[in-house]
């Protein structure tokens, strides 16, 4: 900028342009060298802030989530539904809200809920979800009782073979409940034989064994109506089963929030959604900035 002005054209315009471009490239180079821990800090702040202010956002309900709600809503009171909790605490942030909402909807409709798990940590998670569901005013007003309105049969090892055997005899696979009491003592299990006694199967899945196995064995083999709530990582794999082999599909926290809205039981997932969205915005902004910085500095990189 301090050099002599050119004889033709606007004085110093080219120099100013060069300087601005140079400054942009310098900023871009600094951005590319930024410590990744700053990104972690930004994401942490973006996730944390909405939690403190209890911010919520509008969540549009997709047909996949409505499918789960409708499948449960159309069941008559007294019908048996099977809730298969195939996940552990590691996936609870995404999946626990689905389990809670399903229990709230089913129990408030006076459905009889049979809980089981192909993962050892599934039944304890279901117990936690039951505690929360039973505190909901709509459910508490009906005062559902263990063994009559709901039961936890616990864990059974064997993965898909367990589902296969449930198609022959549920009491043979689960002779006792989670606490070791013979299931013959519980009125809820009277008349429950196999999948023909189950009006709807809802599988909450974090992987294997999970939704694939329930679709393949309970759905396709024994013609049970199956719905699924799954982690976001798994959801793209299961979309191929919807709507023919799955009545509904909840994918990750977004799916859980949609189900809460559709069923009318706002809970944790809706509380988390603003954090989710804000963190996504931060990630997208950094992706855009990173790409912009890469493009600006590309000419200065050594060509391979």
């Amino acid at each position: 900028m301090t050099g002599r002005a050119p004889k033709h054209g606007r004085p110093g315009a080219a120099a100013v342009g060069t300087t601005v471009a140079g400054a942009a490239v310098a900023v871009a180079e600094r951005m590319l060298r930024i410590d990744r821990r700053w990104l972690f800090a930004f994401v942490t702040v973006a996730v944390s802030l909405p939690l403190f202010f209890n911010l919520q956002q509008h969540v549009a309900v997709t047909p996949e989530a409505r499918g789960v709600r409708d499948a449960v809503a159309q069941l008559p009171p007294g019908a048996h539904v099977l809730l298969a909790c195939d996940y552990d605490p590691g996936s609870a942030a995404e999946l626990q809200p689905m389990t809670v909402t399903f229990l709230k909807q089913a129990l408030s409709q006076r459905l009889r809920v049979i809980v089981m798990g192909l993962w050892p940590q599934g039944p304890p998670q279901a117990d936690l979800a039951l505690e929360e569901a039973l505190r909901d005013p709509a459910v508490a007003a009906l005062a559902p009782r263990y063994g009559i309105d709901y039961i936890n049969l616990g864990f059974q090892s064997g993965n898909e073979v367990v589902i296969q055997r449930l198609g022959s005899s549920i009491p043979a696979v689960f002779p006792r409940d989670y606490r070791g009491t013979p299931i013959a003592q519980f009125p809820i299990m009277a008349g429950v034989r196999d999948f023909s006694s189950i009006a709807y199967v809802f599988n909450v899945s974090a992987g294997y064994p999970g939704t694939v196995e329930w679709v393949q064995f309970a759905g396709d083999r024994f013609h049970a109506h199956v719905g699924s709530g799954t982690t976001a990582v798994s959801a793209p794999l299961y979309y191929t089963y919807y709507p023919a082999q799955l009545t509904g599909l909840l994918g990750g926290m977004k799916g859980a929030a949609e189900y809460e809205v559709a069923a009318g039981f706002t809970g944790k997932a809706m509380t988390y959604m603003f954090s989710q969205s804000l963190s996504h915005i931060v990630v997208v902004i950094f992706i855009l900035l990173g790409n912009l910085a890469f493009l600006l500095t590309r000419s200065r990189r050594p060509q391979p």
Partner: protein, 227 residues
């Protein structure tokens, strides 16, 4: 702030794992080792008390009791075969007779293959093809953007058909990807890229959800700062 010791341990372990985001450190490695150890221990105890004890030991005990009381053959003696297969599997730990463990492995592979052969064909092949072959065009008035059409087009089905067809062309290597086949294969790669992008997006969402869950635990259950 919570007064529950379990919550405090959980918070300490969570912060220990998070400390890796700053840099690798001994606290992180200790927390990681605790996680792996507790998981292995939990699985061992859980499988022992929910499988080995009730299914093997109790069934064999009852079978022995029935036989001793003169009931004759009891079908629960068949659990001996399962127990034997389990012991054979453990022989893998003895190098000289480790080959014996191949027998129970062969049993597992054989039964799994038999169990899945028809199921996979039905659920992941025939059903998927059936659901893809839906009418693309049906009778009745339709619309493309703002243009009225004399027939109804199921654009979703058209899109799925195109994606499936061009994706299959991309993986069909018996024909060189030139001309029409090349264009179809290239279109297939776009569909594949969109699929991978959607999977990646879902993965990011999943990981963020886990972070949200942990921060909710730290700020809510541990520190009691959330309403």
């Amino acid at each position: 702030m919570s007064v529950d010791v379990g919550i405090w341990i959980g918070a300490f372990l969570t912060l220990g794992i998070f400390s890796f985001l700053y840099r690798d450190n001994p606290v992180y490695r200790a927390c990681e080792a605790v996680f792996v150890g507790v998981s292995a221990g939990y699985w061992f105890v859980s499988l022992f008390w929910q499988n080995v004890w009730p299914k093997l030991i109790l069934n064999l005990r009852d079978a022995a009791g029935a036989t001793l009381h003169g009931a004759g053959w009891d079908e629960r003696w068949l659990y001996l075969i399962a127990g034997l297969l389990g012991v054979m599997m453990l022989l893998r730990l003895a190098p000289k007779i480790g080959w014996i463990s191949r027998w129970p492995l062969a049993f597992i592979v054989g039964t799994t293959a038999g169990l899945y052969f028809i199921t996979y064909l039905q659920s992941n092949a025939i059903s998927q093809v059936h659901d893809t072959l839906v009418p693309l065009v049906t009778a009745g008035a339709g619309r493309f953007l703002f243009v009225p059409l004399p027939f109804h087009v199921d654009w979703n089905a058209v899109f799925i058909f195109l994606g499936t067809f061009t994706g299959l062309v991309y993986f069909f290597f018996s024909v060189e990807h030139k001309g029409a086949a090349g264009k179809a294969a290239r279109t297939g790669t776009y569909f594949l890229m969109i699929t991978f992008g959607a999977s990646f997006g879902y993965t990011v969402m999943s990981r963020m959800s886990l972070l949200i869950g942990r921060l909710d635990f730290l700020f809510g259950q541990w520190l009691g700062l959330l309403r």
